[in-house]
């Protein structure tokens, strides 16, 4: 099945990668092991999954200024996502993704139906 997702706001170059859909929200500090790029929060829909090299969709975000530096830290270790799609996000995510040069879209439409 093919679905076209669009968003009015975006940053970064075109990328092609496997997509992962999360039904849970995202915070770099609360949910991620920032040394490995693996989702570490107990009970998170993506728990145990490495986001390295993938395009990841999250419906919303939590927190937190950690993302400002955190994406650059992930990129420095070679475990950053290839791109991130948000239903709704906050400026911290954008500030961090711009610094790390990772493509991002915000206010995605239609809202995907995550399998996990």
């Amino acid at each position: 099945m093919s679905v076209v997702l669009t968003a009015p706001l975006g940053f970064g170059p075109a990328v092609e990668a496997e997509i992962v859909l999360s039904r849970d929200t995202f915070s770099l500090r609360y949910d991620m092991d920032r040394e490995t790029g693996v989702v570490s929060r107990k009970g998170h829909a993506l728990e145990g999954l490495s986001l390295a090299g993938k395009i990841v969709y999250f419906p919303a975000v939590q927190g937190g200024v950690a993302a400002g530096w955190g994406f650059l830290a992930l990129a420095h270790r070679g475990v950053a996502p290839a791109g991130i799609l948000f239903g709704r996000t906050n400026p911290v995510m954008i500030q961090g993704l711009v610094l790390a040069g990772i493509p991002v879209m915000h206010r995605l439409s239609p809202i995907p139906s995550p399998s996990c």
Partner: protein
């Protein structure tokens, strides 16, 4: 974005390479959010610690220093991941401590004012109504917007750094009057006697809001909050909901009444928060077992009044040998608490008062492994929310329950939820 002559000169590199790089980043973020211009800012509060920056962020800052970067407005720092005086006792990694020390020196070269506090608004700088800021601690931002009527977005480490170099920030989000309009209405019908209850209220509203761009309006409050109650409420609302502003009707400066809070519009959603909702929130933090490994008062750093409350509750008793008691505050408050005898009282009881740090960024997973801790009891909803990501079991309870557990080593009966 429309740039002033000064901003164009910065972009052309006339004020140096670091400011040029900074304004390019700010333009990318500003254009992402459809900002039309920059606003001058008077104060920057910046997050820069090794736990969150990693080597990549450190290298970025070192490069700026090498290029002669220097802040053009006052830049203060938020809480960091190390209390240098107590790092060894807390078994923090020497490598982390060394890197943090190097980072502190590097930030000093940029001209940062190293206050290392997340409660700058209680001790260092109280912004005035309408003042534009670039603050980078979510709890501080929500305080500035909501309680002071000042104007700031969340400015993460690199964004605050950029604002410190250029002296401006893109005018989007909470710099604009329109964005400050209340969106959802929360009627609060329960009593909120403890700091933890105010944090829980922030957590409940945050979980239902989950959107930086929404502004919850709190009405009907039966308990009158003091500064520390608002601190816990805002920190939790920012943590759980990613919110940067709220209104409390009759209490915060842009909400003298509901019509002002909503700017005459109808709320998008109506919620009631009652005793059942509060109890349900606490039940999301059930005890895993009776024994308590560590009791943490942190996130945000404590005021002198909060430390006084803990001393009163300890009432001269000692902390149980199997349980650790940790408090975090800033340098100014620790000094004042020392003068008032509170630090001695807490240390005599077997607790520790950390300064310049906040517990949840002190590599809590490693600290827990070093001491064999599995659960964390706290009165901070923010800490409870965060600590799950470090695979520790969080238990949120009122302050008195936390202190009783620290003394007895076990959660007292009134703290049991199952």
């Amino acid at each position: 974005m429309r740039l002033t002559e000064r901003e164009q000169r910065i972009r052309a590199g006339e004020l140096g390479e670091p400011a040029r790089v900074a304004i390019e980043q700010q333009i990318a973020v500003g254009e992402f959010f459809a900002a039309e211009r920059f606003v001058p800012i008077t104060n920057v509060h910046m997050m820069g610690d090794m736990e969150v920056m990693g080597d990549g962020g450190f290298a970025f800052i070192e490069r700026l220093v090498g290029e002669g970067a220097r802040f053009s407005v006052p830049v203060t720092t938020t809480a960091r991941c190390v209390d240098f005086e107590r790092a060894a006792a807390l078994r923090q990694r020497p490598e982390l401590v060394d890197r943090e020390r190097a980072l502190v020196a590097t930030l000093g070269h940029l001209g940062a004012i190293l206050v290392d506090t997340c409660i700058n608004y209680q001790t260092v700088y109280q912004p005035h109504f309408g003042e534009h800021l670039a603050w980078g601690d979510t709890g501080a931002v929500i305080w500035a917007n909501s309680v002071c009527g000042a104007r700031s977005n969340y400015e993460a480490g690199p964004a605050a750094l950029a604002a410190g170099l250029t002296g401006v920030t893109p005018a989007y989000g909470y710099h604009l009057t329109e964005q400050r309009t209340g969106t959802e209405r929360f009627e609060v019908s329960c009593e909120l006697p403890d700091y933890a209850d105010w944090g829980a209220l922030g957590g409940i509203i945050g979980r239902r809001t989950l959107d930086y761009w929404k502004v919850p309006v709190v009405a009907g409050l039966r308990s009158h909050p003091g500064a520390d109650e608002l601190k816990h409420f805002g920190a939790a609302l920012a943590s759980y909901g990613s919110c940067a502003m709220y209104h409390m009707v009759g209490l915060t400066p842009e909400a003298r009444d509901e019509a002002e809070a909503f700017r005459g519009r109808a709320p998008a959603a109506l919620h009631v928060i009652d005793d059942a909702a509060l109890a349900a929130f606490y039940r999301t933090y059930p005890e895993d077992r009776a024994e308590v490994d560590v009791v943490v008062f942190s996130g945000p750093q404590l005021s002198v009044l909060e430390m006084r409350r803990i001393v009163e509750l300890l009432a001269g008793r000692r902390v149980h040998t199997r349980t650790a008691l940790l408090l975090t505050t800033n340098f100014a408050n620790r000094e004042m608490a020392a003068r008032l005898g509170y630090v001695k009282a807490i240390e005599d009881a077997g607790g520790r008062v950390l300064a310049g740090a906040c517990w949840y960024i002190m590599e809590p997973a490693r600290m827990a492994a070093a001491f064999g801790w599995r659960n964390v009891l706290t009165n901070s909803a923010k800490v409870a929310n965060i600590i799950g990501g470090y695979r520790l079991h969080p238990i949120l309870r009122p302050t008195a329950v936390c202190v009783e557990a620290a003394v007895s080593g076990e959660l007292p009966a009134e703290g049991h939820l199952r």
